[in-house]
């Protein structure tokens, strides 16, 4: 089977790359072996951490040379950030985020965290516009969101935070289940009148609040429940992510996939690319476990396979490797050197990844493959915790690789 472009991995980077290509009429196939890390994400994308008064540009300038942003080039990043936001918008995903500076969001632990682009319904503030008095809402029995903890953290920052617990008949049924009472289970039952009753209960307690903070458990299969609760509440409200799975993340994943399919894209789920045929410095085709003898051929191949969690990278005691083709990987030392004993510190293994040139083209035994690109968390050189560049690297590199491919045509 022949395509213009084959994208291996259907996470944020793969989908954004594929959508950019499909929007220009290219015939694209995504092959993905399972759901991506987008399903755990906060509903906000980080681009880079900045210090007080520092611009994105200044922060990027301090990154090491091998960082994906440096490869892409500081001058391209502003336009790429805008492209990402517009592309999400065309997929029906409304976001907020300033072109030049971070905003702040509230984490599941009640901390403030810098971020670049947030789903409109998630918390988002500039430092000077923090709310003065909030109401943090707990749902009875739901343990993956701790309103008291969040309120106390916010309190330490001078925000007056009250909590309230609301009881929902619909979610009570979930308690019959031996094991699962998670965000996704709740989101599946919160719809229609259940939401209206919930809103009434919250409204009664929200008289003093300027902002209501809710766990992000609304709207997993469709968008309406999230809109409905915000509409029914009498005070402004926003969502805080819960422990995983992430309901906003699942919705993002869904909407992006739908957008790609509506553009005529084809998507194989639950299948693994396990080998590729290389000839004359190019990839000719790839093979998957399910499709046996079928050769999937394309002009370009984009590796968007994620990092260790998604099996885009694998490790033995002495080496890190890319499992499909054994692409060149940037890493240093052996097992003992890869971890920092302080779990909150930057971990050396996080910056390991597939080696690319400035056009994000991968290489095999030192030789660049002319038609194969790597994007997203698979790339080497990012330092997600220290520089706070996680989702941004994935989104931006995905769109950038598509630009390179389109420019060649």
């Amino acid at each position: 089977m022949k395509y213009d472009d084959i994208i291996i991995g259907g996470g944020l980077s793969g989908l954004l790359c594929a959508i950019s290509l499909a929007e220009k009429g290219r015939k694209c196939l995504i092959i993905s072996q399972g759901q991506s890390t987008l399903n755990f994400s906060s509903g906000s994308l980080e681009f880079i951490n900045t210090r007080e008064g520092e611009s994105f540009e200044q922060a990027v300038a301090q990154l090491p040379a091998g960082h994906p942003y440096q490869k892409i080039g500081a001058d391209r990043l502003t336009a790429l950030r805008a492209s990402v936001a517009q592309l999400l918008g065309r997929a029906g995903i409304d976001t907020v985020g300033d072109k030049e500076r971070n905003h702040w969001r509230i984490t599941p632990f009640g901390a403030l965290k810098q971020t670049w682009l947030s789903l409109e319904e998630m918390t988002h503030f500039q430092k000077e516009e923090l709310p003065r008095r909030v109401l943090v809402v707990d749902i009875t029995g739901f343990l993956d969101f701790n309103a008291t903890f969040i309120a106390s953290s916010l309190g330490k920052m001078g925000i007056k935070a009250d909590t309230c617990e609301v009881y929902v008949q619909e979610t009570e049924r979930l308690r019959e289940n031996d094991s699962e009472f998670r965000s996704a289970n709740i989101a599946h039952v919160l719809d229609g009148y259940a939401i209206d009753r919930l809103a009434c209960a919250i409204n009664e307690k929200a008289a003093d609040a300027d902002l209501i903070l809710l766990p992000a458990v609304f709207g997993i299969e469709k968008d309406e429940p999230a809109r409905r609760i915000l509409r029914m509440l009498k005070k402004p409200a926003a969502f805080i992510p819960t422990m995983s799975p992430s309901v906003p993340g699942i919705r993002l994943q869904r909407l992006l996939k739908q957008r790609f399919i509506a553009l005529g894209g084809l998507f194989i789920n639950a299948d693994t690319v396990f080998s590729a045929d290389v000839a004359d410095g190019r990839i000719a085709s790839v093979h998957t476990l399910n499709h046996g003898t079928t050769r999937f051929e394309a002009d370009n191949f984009i590796f968007a396979c994620g990092s260790f969690f998604s099996n885009g990278l694998k490790a033995t005691k002495d080496k890190i490797y890319e499992p499909i083709l054994g692409l060149d990987v940037d890493f240093e030392g052996s097992h003992g050197d890869w971890f920092n004993p302080d779990v909150y510190a930057e971990q050396p293994y996080m910056s390991f990844g597939v080696h690319t040139d400035n056009k994000l083209r991968v290489s095999l035994a030192g030789k660049t493959l002319e038609n194969a690109y790597a994007v997203g968390q698979l790339l080497s050189g990012a330092s997600p915790i220290k520089s706070g560049c996680t989702g941004g690297v994935s989104a931006i590199s995905g769109v950038y690789a598509a630009e390179i491919i389109l420019n060649q045509q």
Binding site: E176, A270, G292
Partner: protein
């Protein structure tokens, strides 16, 4: 053959978040707990979580969600067979033995079809058997596909220089022979003769889900022997039969099929690949105009086979195609026929039904026969297998010429 890989689970719960049954039924513990987690406990006691396993639809959407490649659906299907707690009753025997029931029913179809529609028989089946009275039974055909084939098609097949085999499955044989006939029409127009296997038994999917593993295995062995004997491509028209023959035989029944797995393929995949490579050319009627909404059945999603259906449907000039968001229709073979499951079944399907109503197509196209029953009953829209759609739209004479068929 791959081993049970429950230890690869990283406990992320995405499988449960994407499980259509867990979404509507709070009593169902979900794939993580029923699958990899349960498997740990079952090492000690085979009956662990047994009460919950009956809710699994075997849709395999959990496997599509898992970032770690855990074959959750297979683990559950196997646990169900091995627990020994599923004592199939009369109802299970009737629902699961699709081929025996079909053989008995087809000769009497003029009587049986109306009787199945009577309120009184529906009430009886509901009261005595526990088959929900709100269900519409698929009608039986007046003549089986195999009988038609022997009478009207067999002789002509040998004239073709290229030959293929066809595993028709129970549905094409007993309920909807037109599907098999359309396949023969299509393949013949492209220059391929279509042969039937020496012996074909029901693939066994309903036996597996109703706890009749022994019988499923016996039938599987007959099928595999015939497929081996065929020694060449065996086409299928049902995504579920295909998945059972290719994947459930090794993963659930423990039968090695590695030597023939790649020979078993959906006819749509075969066609799409041959059209792509230029070996087959298709010509369509210029006056065929239809608005079609494509529904990705669970097993088409699992096998990724819809990537072959869509390009073929897009070849038909008069087809205006929308792709519905992939979601479970809720019937899951025999599951939705059972009284205790009816409400869950309809609730699971409701999102799909709404999307179909919104698309308002002339046809819903899908490769799964049980989706067809469920969607037709629940929405009133007509459901068609893409093979039939291609055959209806095909300009037979022009296609023959393009493929140099005399």
């Amino acid at each position: 053959m791959q081993d049970n890989n429950f230890q690869d689970c990283v406990k992320c719960t995405l499988c449960t978040a994407y499980c259509p049954m867990a979404a509507v039924n709070p009593i169902y513990i979900g794939p993580k707990q029923a699958g990899p987690d349960g498997e740990r406990y079952r090492l000690k006691d085979k009956a662990f979580y047994d009460y919950a396993l009956k809710y699994c639809l075997n849709c395999k959407r959990c496997e599509g969600a898992c970032p770690s490649g855990v074959r959750i659906g297979d683990i559950i299907a196997k646990a169900k067979l091995e627990s020994g707690q599923f004592r199939p009753g009369l109802r299970e025997m009737i629902l699961a033995n699709t081929d025996i029931m079909g053989t008995l029913a087809v000769p009497f179809s003029p009587i049986i079809n109306p009787v199945l529609k009577w309120d009184i028989s529906k009430k009886l089946m509901d009261g005595v058997l526990g088959i929900d009275h709100r269900r519409t039974f698929p009608a039986y055909a007046g003549q089986t596909f195999t009988r038609w084939y022997k009478k009207h098609a067999k002789k002509q097949q040998d004239a073709f220089s290229k030959q293929l085999y066809y595993f028709h499955g129970c549905y094409a044989n007993y309920n909807y022979p037109k599907l098999g006939q359309d396949l023969v029409k299509l393949m013949n127009a492209c220059g391929y003769g279509v042969q039937l296997l020496e012996k074909e038994k029901c693939c066994g999917v309903a036996l597996i889900s109703n706890g009749m593993g022994g019988q499923a295995k016996r039938q599987a062995k007959v099928n595999l022997a015939s497929i081996r004997k065929a020694g060449t491509t065996v086409l299928t028209t049902s995504t579920t039969c295909t998945m059972t023959l290719r994947d459930e035989y090794p993963h659930v029944l423990g039968l090695d099929n590695a030597d023939v797995r790649d020979n078993i393929t959906l006819a749509l995949r075969f066609l799409c690949e041959k059209v792509e490579s230029g070996e087959i050319k298709l010509a369509f009627k210029s006056d065929y105009q239809k608005k079609v909404a494509y529904h990705t059945s669970c097993h088409a999603e699992k096998q990724g086979s819809w990537i072959y259906s869509l390009p073929l449907l897009r070849l038909i000039p008069g087809v205006q195609l929308t792709v519905l968001e992939s979601s479970c229709c809720g019937i899951s073979g025999t599951f939705g026929f059972k009284k205790e499951n009816y409400e869950y079944s309809q609730e699971i399907g409701s999102k799909l039904f709404n999307n179909i109503r919104e698309a308002n197509p002339d046809y819903v196209a899908t490769e799964c026969e049980t989706c067809k029953w469920q969607i037709e009953m629940s929405t009133g829209f007509e459901v068609i297998n893409p093979i039939c759609l291609l055959a209806d739209a095909l300009d037979v004479e022009a296609t023959k010429q393009l493929n140099q068929v005399r």
